[in-house]
């Protein structure tokens, strides 16, 4: 009989402790956000969508067509073409297949001129799969007005 009473007490106490937590949280501040109406800020290093900012001084592409990003991409989703020779080389094609992209950031990391950058955006959904192919124009349009602050260590440059 005493054992039964002890077990009953344990059970009641256990349930009381659990329910106390539940009621405490009921009165707490809400931790969720109503997503499409409210949005969370992402951190400066956010691996989001990609963009090609233009050089503010010359108004031209920063890309020097070294093709390092195309080579390092594990999913091979970057396609670059260019015409001209030497200093006259210009980009004619810079396509990123965002549906293949795995957001690893290796292209941003190897780029010697910061021509390709991440932007703090993450909404890429569309009803048409063809629109996930971002061409040069799309990538220019997506570029931020000011370069995002980032503390990444570049390849082969040390700290």
């Amino acid at each position: 009989m005493a054992e039964l009473a002890a077990r009953a007490w344990d059970a009641i106490n256990g349930l009381y402790l659990g329910l106390r937590v539940t009621f405490r949280v009921l009165l707490d501040r809400k931790i969720t956000v109503k997503y499409p109406l409210e949005k969370l800020e992402v951190s400066p290093r956010w691996h989001g969508l990609l963009a090609l900012p233009l050089d503010p001084e010359t108004g031209k592409d920063k890309c020097i067509i070294c093709l390092q990003c195309e080579r390092v991409c594990p999913d091979r989703c970057i396609h670059i073409e260019a015409t001209g020779k030497g200093k006259e080389r210009v980009l004619t094609r810079f396509d990123i297949e965002m549906d293949k992209c795995c957001y690893c950031g290796l292209c941003v990391e190897v780029c010697p001129t910061d021509a390709i950058v991440f932007i703090p955006e993450y909404e890429a959904s569309t009803r048409d799969r063809a629109r996930l192919l971002y061409d040069l124009e799309d990538l220019h349009r997506a570029a931020p007005k000011e370069p995002p602050a980032r503390g990444l260590v570049k390849m082969g440059r040390g700290r």
Partner: protein, 367 residues
């Protein structure tokens, strides 16, 4: 009068919420009792080991993130890079080692929180799920500030880490550590004393110590069966040799012991993070390693303690910039095997509790 009874085949999965992915269990049941379990795996097989042979060592970092255990991406990177660095003789700067240790322990806590929440749901305690994810969200925010990713980080690099910790991050991390310990008290209040929870896990699914060793169980499963082994202590890597921590071992062997091990491990992880942040040395975070690093001919095996257990990578190099062969020893695979062996004799309802206590991730089992 004798009743005519016969055994029944029951198909559990592949689409079953408590199998945590796509695992199919072919059960032979005798009434409510399980007479036999045959796991059918391979639904998530992605031929990761083969894919790794076609990518450079740097690109593979992005691949091991998502191809293996997707809840512990950093632990996968660590195991893989440990192999690469050992074979290539690449020296990691001390600061990078300590940063890696901090990151790995945060990853361990976040993985255990997912386990605790989903196991709670399996057992019918759905409240704890949301609470665990609330804390996990904080960890993901912290990791996002450092790495830029929330699930797939691609943060570790051959010879260091991608970037130094952002300014003020260590203060935020320490603040979270204090908060987590408070929250852990809540988890204990919600679960440990709860009579329904105790009835479902106490003494259920006992894995004896000998069986755990013989069937290759590792990590929290083995430690819950009284096997005092942790790779972080037995074969220290990164900064684990220099920090103080206890390896929780419980003798019970049942689901409750495995629960206790993981709860205590989170507490120890906080302890490691605090020490690491306090003793974080200054200096470089990344050694100079070329993009297309070539490793010398040879083979290497690196083992680490991932949140799920003993994660090993066997890597063979033929001198090229791509691995010749990679073999991954996944902890979930051997743990799943060990526990399906002991499921015989338990009730069908207990099976969900036992399966949940393995903390399987099917992409880790199948690879």
């Amino acid at each position: 009068m004798r009743l005519h009874t016969e055994e029944l085949m029951l198909n559990m999965g592949p689409q079953h919420p408590s199998t945590h992915g796509v695992l199919r269990l072919i059960l032979t049941i005798d009434g409510e009792n399980i007479a036999g379990v045959k796991p059918d795996i391979g639904y998530l097989h992605s031929s990761l080991e083969k894919m790794m042979e076609h990518r450079t060592y740097l690109q593979n970092v992005a691949l091991v993130d998502r191809g293996m255990d997707y809840l512990t991406a950093l632990a996968n990177e660590e195991a893989y890079l440990l192999a690469v660095e050992r074979l290539g003789g690449i020296e990691v700067p001390p600061r990078a080692k300590w940063i890696r240790t901090i990151m790995l322990e945060f990853q361990r806590i976040s993985s255990h929180l997912v386990w605790l929440g989903t196991w709670g749901i399996d057992l019918g305690a759905s409240t704890v799920f949301i609470y665990c994810f609330r804390e996990r969200e904080r960890i993901l925010d912290l990791l996002e500030q450092v790495t830029g990713g929330r699930l797939h980080y691609v943060y570790f690099r051959p010879g260091g880490v991608l970037a130094d910790l952002p300014e003020g991050w260590t203060d935020r991390a320490l603040e979270f550590c204090d908060e987590l310990l408070d929250r852990m008290v809540e988890y204990h209040e919600l679960l440990t004393g709860n009579p329904i929870f105790r009835a479902r896990v106490l003494g259920v699914g006992v894995l004896p110590r000998d069986a755990a060793i013989n069937m290759g169980a590792c990590g929290p499963i083995a430690r819950g069966s009284g096997v005092d082994f942790d790779v972080r202590r037995a074969h220290p890597y990164e900064a684990y040799g220099d920090v103080e921590f206890d390896v929780p071992v419980f003798e019970g062997g049942d689901c409750f012991a495995r629960y206790q091990v993981r709860m205590e491990e989170m507490r120890q992880s906080v302890r490691i993070i605090r020490q690491a942040i306090e003793r974080l040395p200054e200096g470089e975070v990344r050694a100079r390693v070329p993009v297309n690093v070539r490793l010398p001919r040879g083979e290497v095996y690196a083992r680490t303690e991932s949140p799920r257990g003993d994660l090993g990578i066997y890597l063979v190099s033929e001198g090229a910039d791509k691995p010749h062969r990679v073999k991954i020893r996944a902890p979930s695979f051997s743990n799943l095997y060990a526990l399906t062996e002991i499921m015989r004799g338990w009730k069908v309802a207990d099976l969900v509790a036992i399966l949940g206590s393995v903390d399987i991730v099917l992409s880790d089992v199948d690879r």
